[in-house]
């Protein structure tokens, strides 16, 4: 009221009454602004925000997948390693068993061979002894007969008698040796 009174005179303005021309101009300007910003700018911002969220979430998902794959590989390697260890232990055991077997075989063969050699030696010795005994017997007989005929003379010239005497003597010798 004070303003109106102070002004007086020509067309006084009342600040609380809008000028309709300004409403029209302001309205058009604001609607143009709304149209452009709400149609071309802010929806694209929402899209960008969404794309950003997707990118971050996708990154997290990819990292999780990689982590899972790495874990799976680790498990696999561990399993393979454990398997390899078992295999190695088995191979070592087998080798040990094989070596033992081979040693036993070799020992057995060696023992057998030595037994055989010993037996062959004994056999040969026995055979030689028998030969020697046989030769000695003939020789001893001849020598004894020669000696006896030298001592006794002609009386022992008879074949049959000579034979019996020598055998009797030798048997006596043997029994004396056995005793």
């Amino acid at each position: 009221m004070y303003f109106l009174a102070a002004e007086g005179g020509e067309a006084a303005h009342n600040p609380i009454i809008p000028a309709w021309e300004e409403i029209v101009v302001g309205g058009i300007a604001f609607i143009v602004l709304c149209f452009v910003l709400m149609k071309f700018v802010f929806p694209r911002m929402e899209q960008t925000f969404q794309a950003r969220v997707d990118a971050i979430e996708g990154g997290i998902k990819r990292a999780e997948a990689a982590q899972a794959e790495a874990n799976q590989l680790l498990e696999q390697y561990r399993a393979q390693l454990a398997e390899a260890r078992t295999d190695a232990a088995k191979i070592r055991d087998d080798a040990r068993a094989d070596a033992e077997g081979i040693r036993q075989d070799i020992l057995a063969k060696a023992r057998e061979e030595s037994d055989r050699i010993i037996a062959a030696g004994k056999e040969q010795l026995a055979a030689e002894r028998a030969t020697i005994v046989r030769e000695l017997r003939t020789e001893v007989g001849t020598i004894a007969v020669d000696l006896a005929s030298k001592i006794v003379g002609e009386s022992l010239a008879d074949e049959a008698r000579r034979k019996g005497t020598v055998d009797r003597f030798l048997s006596g010798l043997e029994s004396t040796g056995a005793r």
Binding site: A11, H13, A29, L33, L37
Partner: protein, 265 residues
């Protein structure tokens, strides 16, 4: 302001300032009074619209996932209104109103800012036509949203009948009707208009007061200087008011929309 400068240059500064200082002569036709189609005020409105459109279109011409500085700035303006006003007030459903709220916020903020930008130094919002138009949009918007969300009858039942004992309803319903459907658009418009009007008036009083005292008596020069220092201080205050009023208008609109969407009263 041009008129003001002429007046000051001619050494005939009027004091005290009056309402007529808000109604500058028109630009086209030059110097005409009571012709509002193309004045400094409407020019500033168009300028604000042009600047905002250019800024947002240029900074969002080629959006990237990793934003440039300009894109980041545009996004943070939108993000501020979207997250701190729309989503905070309305909840997740508020996202679809965020584009309008951001446009509203930017428009009010920039047109308010003309109040303290040198050579403009008056806000279009100190003419009630512009706040009134914005308030009418907010009014139509929240009613339309409420009716579409609840249906006509349920919306008015929700808004008018508070959960109260029956015998107090005859008192409450008229109050609710008055506050929701009559006062809201008016208070929205007047709050913004009056703040910008008073801000401009204050700056005028202290600026012109300095000149008035100086021309009245040379001995009053120190007081004139004090008056102009006050002008500078009040300009900072005005800056606060500019931001606050833009925020308040947007928040209130969001709150009305939230009220219209709410299930219970």
């Amino acid at each position: 302001m041009f008129g003001q400068a002429n007046v000051l240059a001619a050494g005939q500064a009027e004091f005290p300032p009056s309402v007529e200082d808000f109604y500058l002569p028109s630009i086209l036709p030059w110097g005409a009074h009571d012709n509002y189609w193309f004045t400094k005020i409407t020019f500033m409105v168009w300028l604000a619209v042009g600047v905002l459109i250019l800024f947002f279109l240029l900074s969002y011409r080629n959006p990237k996932l990793v934003p440039t500085k300009k894109q980041w700035f545009a996004e943070s303006v939108y993000g501020f209104v979207r997250n701190n006003i729309a989503v905070d007030m309305i909840g997740h459903a508020g996202v679809r109103f965020a584009p309008y709220f951001t446009t509203l916020f930017c428009f009010i903020l920039l047109t308010n800012a003309f109040a303290i930008i040198p050579f403009f130094q008056i806000s279009p919002n100190s003419h009630i036509a512009f706040p009134a138009f914005l308030a009418v949009i907010s009014y139509v918007m929240f009613n339309w949203i409420g009716i579409r969300h609840h249906g006509f009858v349920k919306y008015f039942k929700n808004s008018l009948i508070p959960p109260a004992p029956w015998y107090i309803l005859p008192l409450l319903i008229p109050i609710e009707f008055f506050s929701t459907f009559l006062v809201r658009p008016f208070s929205l418009a007047v709050r913004l208009f009056a703040n910008m009007f008073a801000g401009h008036m204050l700056l005028l009083v202290f600026t012109l007061g300095g000149f008035a005292m100086l021309s009245a008596n040379a001995w009053l020069a120190p007081v004139s200087v004090l008056s102009w220092v006050m002008t500078i201080a009040l300009t900072f205050l005005e800056f606060l008011v500019i931001c606050l009023q833009a925020y308040v208008f947007t928040v209130l609109t969001a709150s009305y929309v939230q009220g219209a969407l709410a299930e219970e009263h």
